[in-house]
Symmetry: C2
Subunit: 259 residues, 2 copies
């Protein structure tokens, strides 16, 4: 097992770029996950782990997990704590970090069942919101998530961490345009989430293959998308209130879809 002590090592430099640049993640077809739990989640989900980096402390502290992970990963490097800190996105790193091949768990839109439930996100910008939505979608056993290409990067370290590993397990698809996606998947009944002039979500039964479509944090859905959807739904709120946080709204909609 090789030990890397220089921050100029190509593997280290690449990994730092994977942490910081969504463009580079896209180009490389890879991303990073950090922490014992997330790295193990990646392995158990069958993701391809190209590199495992671990500090000597972490190798000793998490001996069994390290053995499993290093057997599973294509390559393993031991790094010093200062080198690890350069790659890390957290304040108190546990000392495990994986470079993982981009995932390919695409939802099965060809075999949609009557009770299939999906969520689509259009131009969602906040990685914390996306992480929470992935986590909630898994908790409520949704069948998959569709993201427009202008959403924040699902492979950003914040999303991966915030999802608590759900990103490895829940099927997702990135499409250029939500309307085009809906047009190509007409067996799905689409519900645009809006703030007014819509059916109260408590009165919607979702007893068909359904996809709820959620928009940008500040601006909501594009008019074109709202117009294309089969239904408009809304979460009723008291008058004086600021609208809900996007991940809260998405969570309540998913809950109403599946409960």
């Amino acid at each position: 097992m090789l030990t890397i002590t220089s921050k100029d090592n190509a593997n280290i430099k690449n990994t730092v770029k994977l942490k910081n640049s969504s463009k580079f993640r896209k180009k490389s077809g890879a991303f990073i996950a950090e922490g014992v739990r997330l790295c193990m989640d990646a392995m158990y989900s069958g993701a391809k782990i190209e590199i495992l980096f671990a500090t000597e402390n972490a190798v000793q502290k998490y001996e069994q997990d390290f053995e499993k992970l290093s057997n599973y990963a294509d390559k393993t490097f031991i790094v010093t704590a200062p080198i690890f800190a350069i790659m890390s996105d957290t304040e108190t790193p546990q000392g495990f970090l994986c470079v993982i091949k981009a995932l390919d768990k695409i939802p099965e839109f060809d075999t949609i069942k009557r009770n299939s439930k999906f969520i689509a996100l259009e131009n969602l910008q906040d990685p914390s919101n996306l992480g929470t939505i992935l986590r909630t979608a898994e908790a409520f056993a949704l069948d998959g998530i569709v993201l427009s290409a202008d959403c924040c990067d699902i492979y950003s370290p914040k999303v991966v961490r915030g999802s608590m590993g759900a990103v490895f397990r829940i099927p997702f698809l990135i499409c250029n345009n939500i309307v085009d996606f809906l047009r190509e998947n007409q067996s799905l009944v689409s519900y645009a989430a809006v703030v007014s002039d819509a059916e109260n979500i408590t009165e919607v039964s979702f007893n068909n293959p359904s996809i709820a479509v959620i928009g940008n944090e500040g601006n909501g859905l594009r008019k074109e998308t709202i117009d294309y959807c089969n239904h408009r739904i809304t979460i009723p709120m008291s008058g004086k209130a600021e609208s809900l946080n996007a991940s809260t709204a998405a969570s309540i909609i998913m809950w109403e879809m599946v409960k």
Copy 2:
């Protein structure tokens, strides 16, 4: 109107401490809110604004809001952009920051009505979660929030910002101990949120003065608190899932209470 150009000015030093230290906020009985919208929210809610700080750029850009706010605030100081940056908690400050007296909008537990709905938080630690919960509680028109003293500080800049100003409007009470609070407010029917051995929340009617009790992100509620509550409730989830984020769980519970 005075202009402050030195970071050693006592007002600046105090404000930086208010930003960074919950101990100092408690001792001073004051906190900060930043940004045009939040400062205006504070004013409209009737909060006592002890100091308004604004940069010259902001005074010009938000002329009308500045006039209203500076008339309302006890004192106004113009500061240079570098001085403002020291006090600011955001990356791209708008140039408005207020020092505000601690709030006193306590829920009215003496006049509880049949449809009164409250939420209690025990040892909640994440300021983002608390901010989101305040925002959601306002959107769903809850009557108030009870926090145990060991929750994260409701006056931290992250909570104030994440609440989108709801902190100024929704009544809240900080108590030493949730069980003591419940003991003193027996007209409230209490529902402990737990992950198993509980009533499915979809089968609970909440048709009485209700308080849902939510625990710490990692450890949930203390056993003593669960035992004291009148009911245990749970949000059913699929087997493989990580539990929900605390603010997501709280949001779904509030939604089920009021809808």
